[in-house]
Symmetry: C2
Subunit: 306 residues, 2 copies
Amino acid sequence: MRVSSVLASWNDGATKRAVVEFVERTVSDAVPFEERVAVFDNDGTLWCEKPVPIQADFILRRLFEMAEADPQLRGRQPWKAAYERDYGWLGTVLSEHYEGDDTKVRTLLGGVLAAHAGIGVEDFEAQSDEFLRTVQHPTLGRGYLQCAYVPMVELLAYLEANGFTNYIASGGGRDFMRPITQEVYGIPRERVIGSATALEYASNDTGGTITRKAEADYLDDGPQKPIRIWSRTGRRPLLAAGNSNGDIPMLEFSHHADKPTLRLLVLHDDADREFDYTSGSAQALERADTNGWTVVSIKHDWAVVF
Amino acid sequence: MRVSSVLASWNDGATKRAVVEFVERTVSDAVPFEERVAVFDNDGTLWCEKPVPIQADFILRRLFEMAEADPQLRGRQPWKAAYERDYGWLGTVLSEHYEGDDTKVRTLLGGVLAAHAGIGVEDFEAQSDEFLRTVQHPTLGRGYLQCAYVPMVELLAYLEANGFTNYIASGGGRDFMRPITQEVYGIPRERVIGSATALEYASNDTGGTITRKAEADYLDDGPQKPIRIWSRTGRRPLLAAGNSNGDIPMLEFSHHADKPTLRLLVLHDDADREFDYTSGSAQALERADTNGWTVVSIKHDWAVVF
């Protein structure tokens, strides 16, 4: 396979060389196919996460609907922010989270869990699917399904062509992403690892139903990422790609003393074509520097973003 | 593919015909490959579970070691039963569980969770792997790895040859089975769904470690089976195979109004070649009768068992 064509949207340079050298070494070392596991964070790594993560827009619309239907909710967070379209409050949730204060995260999470409680998993997917296929990104002038990074989609295909099995290991909701990952990333639904709500099974005459409860099963972020990757795959990945502090344990875990490994950290430094921010990724960038992880500069390493 | 050769250990009759007709209909209806999902319970469905489940032997040996090292444990269940090799007490755990009384299950579970608490997941697998490759079944005169049912292994291969993806959805421990499922069943480790203990990640300079905690994450039995199948695969299976009451929700969930489906229930009715028991499966057998699920009689449907 000619690298120039498969990674066509990557500029020549040290980053692209690191990727190609890693893949070529995996092949030349004849690492068994079943060990060629690669894991990717989703928001900010495979697709855009600004001004808010795509799933946040999905949930905010649902909270808005709930507040429209029930005026009492309009005075309570997170319904208040959703109803008033107060992105400022929502922005502070993330920034305070990255600074270690999860008070607002818990408030938000209560709303997030209530937003789709009691809905069957198949109905939830149909809602997510419709949202993702119809809604436009607020500033980029493209639909959400077109917000995946073309160079990363090329990387996924390049890895697969070289015997890798790609997984998504996202802090976002597993069931939110599943309906579109095959089409957008070539990653089938069973290889989506992500945060999950607790589920409930009820028997009936037509195959039973699984519904979402108003409680989290687990939040797939930070130290949960290696745990969930192990639980799902039973392996340590060779390659891990992320963009934020929550990805540090996953990148760290993708370590082998005796096999090629690659840790990628996407740096958002391109205000013209995407966004320019390092909030939530300062520690990860430090670790990249200390440990020799490969930083992917959107501005310098990608000829095309979308 | 000639059915006579792939299902060579199945006697001709209604059961074998039901299996073949289901597979041929799936193919002739051109059900998309990604929807051809089949799930199998393990203990009593893919391999022998008597006189005690194979994993119980593994755990009892560890409890015995613990009681040898610490005399105080010898007076406490389940260490007492393990130390005195009191299979009677252990038998009542299961029989009382099937009658709805889980008092002893909780006592046993406390011991089970303590038995391997604090061990790294990779070390745990190495112990399980060694046990399964070296220990003999207590009465069948064969090693544990030779306790898989040949007709079921043939069925797995027949399904795979027809585009199915097979998963194990076991009440047994996921991490206990993983080291041997590829070799014994042709099912790779990432397609093993089973009970799981809670895990903990700790950072270090060599890729971090994941260790087992002394608490369950979930017990993959009864209504948890469809939940865990959905969580892992994002699909309703076309085929489900089990042998006990704990498999009822999984069999029920494998329902499609518009696609071929097959529900198999293995009936242990062959005291000469294996074991003869229905304890723990009475309700499942009733449901098979009511709902037209296919009962697989070991005595009548299998020409060879092991």
